[in-house]
C-alpha cells in the first residue's frame, strides 16, 4: 500500500484530472495484485523499502505499466506463470526446452541461425535454481530478458506448437517488430486492434492529456488501451513505453511554453522533428555487449562510489587482484557517470538503500600469472539486489568480464549514482573474438596498443591478432636475426623489443585477452628481404626486386625454423598466425629454377587444354614444409588462401585454422561453408574490415553480419556451428596511424563485438541503437576517441581537449 500512497501523493502534484482517474485505476489493479496476484512468499519489489529515494515519475510510469501487464496477463494466460518457469528450467538444466527448440521452425527466425548457441555450456556450470530464486525470476523475466536463453529477443523464435504446449504468451517473448507481433497475436488468437503501434498508443495518451481542443480524440477506453499495450508488449516494450511517456512529458512542457509565447497560434503543438541520433542518456546503465541473460527491474539502489569496494575471492590470484584494483579505481573515479552540468553528486543518506560492496567469488582457486587461452571460461554470474552484489565465475577471465559489465550498470539518476536490481548470467557466444591490428604499414607505439587493449576489454573482445610485420616494415626485433628490424624497420625508434612484447602480453592477459602474433609468409615479406635478401626470390628485372619467400631453398626452412622457435618462446599463446595471403606468383614463375622444380613435382594444372604451372600448388608445398619446421605444439591460423593449399598437401585440420577474409558482403559464406565442409575450423574476418571507411553510418552494416548466417544455406547447423570459432575485426593500417586509429576503431568495432559475444538473437541494430549510442558515449567519457557513428547528436558532458600548443595564453 505504501507504493499506492506514494504514487498517489507524488503524481498528484503533476497530473491532471484525467491522469488521476487513470492512476486510481492502476492503483486498484495494483492493490488487487498485491492481495492475490502473487505468491505469498514472493519478495516485494524493493521500491517499498525506499522512503527517501524519490522515484522519478518516469519510473513510476514504468512500474505502472508493469502492473497493468501483470494483471492483464492473468486474464490472457491459461496456465499461470508457467512461462517463466520453463525459461528458468532451461537455465537450470532441464533438457525439455532443448528438445522443444529442436522442433522449432527456423523460418520463424527470419532465416537466421536458431537462437541457442551455447546452451550446453550453461547447463554444465549452472547450479539448479532454488524455488525462491525461481519465483523472483518469474517476475524479472517480465521486466527484461534478452539473449538466447529467452529464445530470442526481437523476432518471435518459438513457434506456435511450442507455445501451445507450454503456454507461452506473447508478452514473455520480447518482441517489438510488427512482424513478430502479428505472429504472436495469431498464436494467442485474441482479436484486438492491431493497428495501434506503440507510438500511436503513446501519442494517443498524450492527446488525451493535451489536445483538449480536439473533439475527435481517438483515445481508447483505458481498459482496452492497456490491453492493446500489453498484447504487443514484451519486457522490452515496457521500457520503450516508459520512454514514450518521457517524450510525452517533454512535449507537454514544450506545449506550455508554446502557449505562453505564441500569440499567433496558441492552439498549436510545437513538435519539431530534429534529425538527431538517439539520446545516449536513454541508454544509461545498459551493458554492451548485451549479456546472454539480463534480468533487470527499475528498482534502484544508490551506489556509494567514493567508498566502493570490490572484495576479491578468498583464494585469489594476480589477474583477479589487478582487475579488482582496476575496477575499484575506475568506479571510484566516477568517469562513467554522465552528470548534467551544474549538478553535483549527493552523498547517500543513511535512510537510503546503499550498495557499497561487490563480492567476487571464484568457483575454483586460480594461480598467479595464468594466461588466457583458447578454452578459457569467461562465463560469470552477476546479481545486484538490494544491499548486496555478487559476481561469481569459474576463472579469472569470467571475473574480468563480469567486472566490466558491473561497471557499465551504474548510472546517474536524480543526483545519485544508482544501479538497478539486476541478475545477469553471461557467457560468450564465440570463443574467438578478435581484433587484428596491422603495425607494419604504420608503426603504432606500445602505449597506443595498450589503449587499444583497454578498449577491447570494454567490449569483451578476447584475441589481439597482431599483424606485426609486412612488406613495408619489420618492427619486430628478433634476437636470432637482428638485421630484420635493424634494416627493415621504419626507423630505429619504431620497433617492438622482446621486453615491449612481453610487457604487452602481460597487459593483455590482465584484460583476458590473448595475443596471437602473425608473421605473414611467403607473400607480404619484402621488408624481411632488407635484412636477409637470401630469404626471398630475386627477380630483379621486375618492378620490385624481390618476390615472395623462396619456397625451395634450404635456407628458407632453416631460417623459419629458428625464427619461429624464437617466436614460440616469446609468445605464449597456443595459436600463431602464419599468414599465407595474397602471394604474387609472378616472381616465382619467372625463375627458371622454380619452374623446373614445379614441373618436376607436377605442380601443374590444365587450363584451356594447356598445361600451366600452378602457383597454388607451390604455395601448398611451402605451407606444408613451413608447418613441418615450425614448433609442433602450436595451432596455426592462416588466411583463406592457405585452405586450398592445405587440402592439396593434406595439412591436418587439427593443425590449421582458416581465417576467411575475402568476399566482404556475403560471398564469404560460400568460403566458410567450403572450409567447414572439409572439416577445418574457421575464424571469420571478411565482413569486418574496419579500415574500409565510407560516408555515413556503418556500424549497422557490421551488426547485420553473423558468423553463423551461412549455416542455414545447406549445412546442418547443429553439426557445424562449432566449427566457427568466432569472428575477427581487421584494421589494416595503410591509412591508419596513431592520429586516427582510435576514432576509426571505436565504436565501429563495438558492433561486431556484440555479435561475437551476445546471443544470435541480437540481430536487429534498431533495437541496439540507443544502447550503442550510450556505449559510444561511455567510451568517450573514459577517454577513448570514439567517433560519432549514428549521425548528428551529442554525448553531452564536456570533452577534454587541449588548446593548440602554440597558442598564446594571454590574448
Amino acid at each position: 500500500m505504501a507504493l499506492k500512497r506514494f504514487l498517489t501523493s507524488h503524481l498528484l502534484k503533476r497530473c491532471s484530472a484525467v491522469k488521476l482517474v487513470l492512476l486510481l485505476l492502476f492503483g486498484i489493479i495494483f492493490s488487487y495484485m498485491l492481495a492475490g496476484g502473487f505468491h505469498a512468499d514472493e519478495p516485494k519489489p524493493y521500491i517499498h523499502e525506499q522512503p527517501t529515494l524519490r522515484m522519478h515519475p518516469e519510473t513510476v510510469v514504468e512500474r505502472r505499466m508493469l502492473n497493468a501487464n501483470e494483471d492483464s496477463l492473468e486474464s490472457l494466460r491459461a496456465p499461470t506463470t508457467r512461462v517463466a518457469k520453463v525459461l528458468d528450467n532451461r537455465n537450470a538444466g532441464t533438457h525439455r526446452l532443448g528438445q522443444d527448440r529442436r522442433g522449432m521452425d527456423l523460418s520463424a527466425n527470419g532465416g537466421n541461425v536458431p537462437a541457442p548457441a551455447r546452451i550446453d555450456t550453461a547447463l554444465t556450470w549452472d547450479k539448479p535454481i532454488t524455488p525462491d530464486e525461481l519465483s523472483r525470476q518469474e517476475q524479472w523475466s517480465k521486466v527484461s530478458s534478452y539473449g538466447d536463453s529467452a529464445g530470442g529477443y526481437n523476432k518471435a523464435p518459438i513457434n506456435n506448437k511450442f507455445e501451445e504446449k507450454v503456454g507461452v504468451k506473447a508478452a514473455d517473448n520480447v518482441s517489438t517488430s510488427s512482424h513478430s507481433l502479428s505472429h504472436v497475436l495469431t498464436a494467442t488468437s485474441k482479436p484486438s486492434k492491431l493497428n495501434y503501434n506503440q507510438q500511436q498508443v503513446a501519442e494517443t495518451e498524450a492527446n488525451t492529456q493535451q489536445q483538449k481542443n480536439k473533439p475527435d480524440n481517438k483515445a481508447l477506453p483505458i481498459q482496452s488501451k492497456i490491453k492493446s499495450e500489453e498484447k504487443k508488449t514484451g519486457p522490452y516494450l515496457v521500457k520503450a513505453q516508459a520512454k514514450n511517456a518521457r517524450t510525452t512529458k517533454l512535449t507537454r512542457e514544450k506545449t506550455r511554453q508554446w502557449e505562453s509565447y505564441d500569440y499567433e497560434n496558441p492552439n498549436n503543438l510545437l513538435q519539431i522533428h530534429v534529425d538527431r541520433a538517439p539520446e545516449h542518456s536513454e541508454g544509461v546503465g545498459t551493458p554492451w555487449p548485451m549479456p546472454q541473460s539480463y534480468l533487470t527491474e527499475p528498482s534502484l539502489t544508490v551506489v556509494d562510489m567514493d567508498n566502493f569496494a570490490i572484495v576479491p575471492p578468498a583464494e585469489s590470484c594476480d589477474r583477479v587482484d589487478k582487475a579488482v584494483e582496476r575496477y575499484t579505481r575506475h568506479i571510484r573515479s566516477k568517469v562513467d557517470l554522465y552528470i548534467p552540468d551544474g549538478k553535483t553528486l549527493r552523498q547517500p543518506s543513511s535512510k537510503q538503500r546503499v550498495l557499497r560492496v561487490l563480492n567476487v567469488k571464484l568457483s575454483r582457486p586460480c594461480r598467479n600469472k595464468e594466461l588466457p587461452h583458447e578454452h578459457m571460461s569467461e562465463q560469470y554470474k552477476l546479481s545486484v539486489s538490494g544491499l548486496s552484489a555478487e559476481l561469481s565465475a569459474q576463472e579469472p577471465w569470467g571475473v574480468i568480464r563480469g567486472l566490466e559489465t558491473f561497471s557499465q550498470l551504474i548510472y546517474y539518476s536524480q543526483g545519485y549514482p544508482v544501479i538497478n536490481t539486476t541478475h545477469i548470467k553471461d557467457y560468450p557466444r564465440f570463443s574467438f573474438r578478435g581484433l587484428m591490428l596491422d603495425t607494419a604499414r604504420h608503426y603504432i607505439p606500445i602505449r597506443n596498443l595498450k589503449r587499444t587493449l583497454d578498449v577491447m576489454s570494454y567490449n569483451k573482445l578476447n584475441v589481439f591478432h597482431w599483424h606485426l610485420v609486412d612488406d613495408q616494415s619489420f618492427p619486430y626485433v628478433s634476437k636470432a636475426f637482428p638485421n630484420l628490424s635493424k634494416l627493415g624497420a621504419y626507423s630505429s625508434d619504431q620497433i617492438y623489443t622482446p621486453t615491449d612484447i612481453l610487457n604487452l602480453i602481460d597487459y593483455a592477459a590482465d584484460r583476458a585477452i590473448r595475443v596471437i602474433p602473425e608473421f605473414d609468409s611467403p607473400g607480404h615479406t619484402r621488408s624481411w628481404g632488407l635484412g636477409y635478401p637470401a630469404l626471398l626470390t630475386n627477380c630483379s628485372a621486375d618492378y620490385h626486386p624481390f618476390g615472395a619467400v623462396n619456397p625451395i631453398s634450404n635456407f628458407t626452412y632453416e631460417f623459419m625454423n629458428t625464427f619461429w622457435a624464437e617466436v614460440h618462446d616469446l609468445f605464449p599463446d597456443s595459436t600463431v598466425h602464419v599468414g599465407g595471403d595474397e602471394i604474387n606468383y609472378k616472381c616465382w614463375l619467372r625463375l627458371k629454377k622454380l619452374r623446373e622444380f614445379m614441373l618436376e613435382k607436377n605442380m601443374t594444372s590444365e587450363q584451356y587444354d594447356y598445361l600451366t604451372l600452378d602457383g597454388d600448388k607451390l604455395q601448398g608445398y611451402y605451407l606444408k614444409h613451413l608447418l613441418e619446421v615450425m614448433p609442433r605444439d602450436r595451432k596455426k591460423i592462416a588466411w583463406e588462401e592457405a585452405f586450398s593449399a592445405a587440402q592439396m598437401w593434406n595439412v591436418s585440420m587439427d593443425e590449421l585454422i582458416i581465417n576467411v577474409w575475402k568476399g566482404g558482403d556475403y560471398e564469404w559464406q560460400y568460403t566458410m561453408e567450403n572450409v567447414i565442409r572439409h572439416g577445418y575450423k574457421a575464424v571469420l574476418s571478411a565482413p569486418w574490415y574496419l579500415n574500409y571507411i565510407s560516408y555515413g553510418k556503418d556500424w549497422t552494416k557490421y551488426y547485420e553480419q553473423d558468423p553463423h548466417s551461412f549455416l542455414t544455406y545447406s549445412l546442418g547447423a547443429d553439426t557445424y556451428k562449432d566449427y566457427v570459432l568466432g569472428g575477427q575485426v581487421c584494421v589494416w593500417a595503410e591509412y591508419i596511424d596513431e592520429t586516427n586509429l582510435e576514432a576509426t576503431l571505436w565504436p565501429r568495432a563495438s558492433s561486431p563485438a556484440e555479435k561475437f559475444w551476445s546471443s544470435a538473437a541480437m540481430n536487429d541494430w534498431r533495437k541496439a541503437e540507443t544502447r550503442f549510442e550510450n556505449h559510444r558515449c561511455r567510451m568517450t567519457r573514459r577517454g577513448v576517441r570514439a567517433q560519432p557513428n549514428s549521425g548528428p547528436g551529442s554525448c553531452k558532458g564536456r570533452m577534454q581537449i587541449k588548446p593548440p600548443y602554440e597558442a598564446n595564453t594571454n590574448f
Binding site: I272, R447, Y543, G696, N740, Q787, M799
Partner: protein, 560 residues
Amino acid sequence: MTMNVLATFSLLLASALCNNFSGNIKIFPPDQPPIRDGLPLPLPRTWIKSDKVFAVLGGQFLFHATGHMCADLGKAFDRYHKMIFNTFPEDLRKSSTSSGKYGYHQNKHSAESNITSLEVNVNQICDGTPQPALGMSETYKLQISEGSAMLSADTLWGALRGLETFSQLVYEAPSDSPGIWMVNETVIEDTPRFQHRGFLLDTSRHYLEKNIILQFVSALAMSKFNVLHWHIVDDQSFPYRSMKFPDLSKKGAYDPDTHIYDQQDIDEVIEFSRQRGIRVIAEFDTPGHTQSWGFGQPGLLTPCYGSDGKPDGTYGPIDPTKNSSYVFLEQLFSEVHQVFPDQYVHLGGDEVSFDCWKSNPDINAAMVKLGIKAGDYAGLESYYISRLTDIVSSIGSKYIVWQEPLDNGVKLANDTVVNIWKTTPQPALEMSKVTAAGYKAISSSCWYLNRIAYGENWQSYYMCDPQDFNGTDTQKALVMGGEGCMWGEWVDGTNVMSRTWPRASVVAERLWSPATATDLDDMKERLEGHRCRMIKRGLDANPIDPSYCRYEKQSPPPLW
C-alpha cells in the same frame, strides 16, 4: 614585375623541385628516410632553392622587425619561434636513441653559414587590432642566403604568410644533432591566387569544443587559408548563445550549459583567427535548416498541415509571410553583425523545402496578398531572400548565399556572393551561369571532405580548379575563390581533425598556388611532409600512405 615573375616561374619551379628528393621511397623501406622536410605547402608562386644548407641556431635565433612593429607581429614571432624550435611541449618530447645511421651528419657539416635571425620588414602600420578582410594583401618576399634571412611584406597579413613559409622551410636535423635546425638557400616571392580561401566547419550536427576549433584554425593558418566559414547553427542544434534571444540556445542546443558558444568563446575564436590572418564568417542559414530555431523562437517556423487540412504538428522553414519573422531576423542579424566583425555574413538559403509552405493555407492566402502568383513558392522564397538581404544590407553587412536562391530564380542584389556547392548540375556549368549573371562566386562543390572514402582521394581535390569553366575573363575574375567543407553529421571532437587534415591542405594549395601547379607526385611529397609537420606541431593529421613520420603523435598513456 609580375610578368617577370610569371615568365620565370615554370623554369624556376622545375629546377627547384628537381633537387629535392632522393630516389624511390614508397615501394621499399628506404635506406635513407625521405627528405620531406623543408618543403612548403601551399607551393609559393616562385620558389628558388639551392643545395646549400645553412644551420639555424635555435638557441640564438631571433625575429627582428626592421619595418613596422606591432603587438600582433610580436605574438606571431613568439608563436613561430615556438613552432620552429620547440617541436613538442617539453614534457612530451620523445627520448631518442637514434644512432644517426642515415648519415645526416654530412649535411650538418655542409652547413656553410649560420642563420641567427629573420629580419621582418612590414611596410604598413599594423598597430591596434587590424581586421583581415576580403582583398587584404598577403604578398610577401622571403630571401634566405648566406648568413641572413629576410622577409618583407606590405601588410601584417603578408608577414604572417611569410612567417609560415619560413617556418616550413626550416627543418630539424636528425636526432644525433639535437638543437640544430637547417634551411636551404631560398628565394621566394609569393602571393595568393584567390582572395577567398575558406573552410567550412559545422558545429551544429555535432558540437565542437572551442579548443578543437582553435586547433582547426591553427591548422588553417598552416595551410594559408584565410576564411573560417563557421556554419554555427542548423536543424540539429543551435549552439550560438544570442544575447537578444537566449532561448535559442537554451532550448535549441544539445546542452544549454556545455554545448554552446557564448560571447567569450566566440570572441576567443575570432581573436585567435584574427591573429593568424583568418576571417571568421558566420553562417546563419535560413529559411530552411532552421528546425532547432523553433524550440526557442515559437512562431518563427511555418506550421505544416496534413492531408486532412489540419496542422500536423510538424514545422517547416521560417514563415516568410509574417512580419514578426523579419523583426526577429533584423534583431538577430544586427547582433551577429556586432559579434562577428567580418564585413560578410553567410545567409545560407540552401535546400528549402516548399512542401510545408504548400500545405499551409495561411501561407497560400498571404501569398495572394503579397502579390505572389499562386503556387509560385520560388517567388515566395525570392520574397523572403530579398527582404532578408535588404535587412542585412541596411545593417551594413555584405552577404554570401548558397546557390539555391539563384537556381530558383530568386532576384538577388548585384553584389551578392554565391557559394556553389552542388555537384549536379555540373559545378562548371553553375559557375558559368552564376558569373554570367554577374555575381561573384565561391566554389565548394569539389571539396566536400566529409564525404570520405577508402584510400587516397585527395587527388581529385587537387585537380579541381574553380576557374575551370567556359566563360570570359570577366566571368573568371568574378571567382573569388573556394571553400572546403567538413559537414558535421559524422564528426565531432574525436575525429574532426584527423578526418579533415591533411586533405584540406590540398584544397588550400589549389586556392593559393598558381593554376599551373598540378604535379600530383610533387604534391604528394609535400603533403606527406606537411602532415608530418602538423604532427610535429601537435595537430592530428591522417596518414595518406603507408609511411612514417619521425614525429610521432604523442597519444595519451593507456587508459587505466
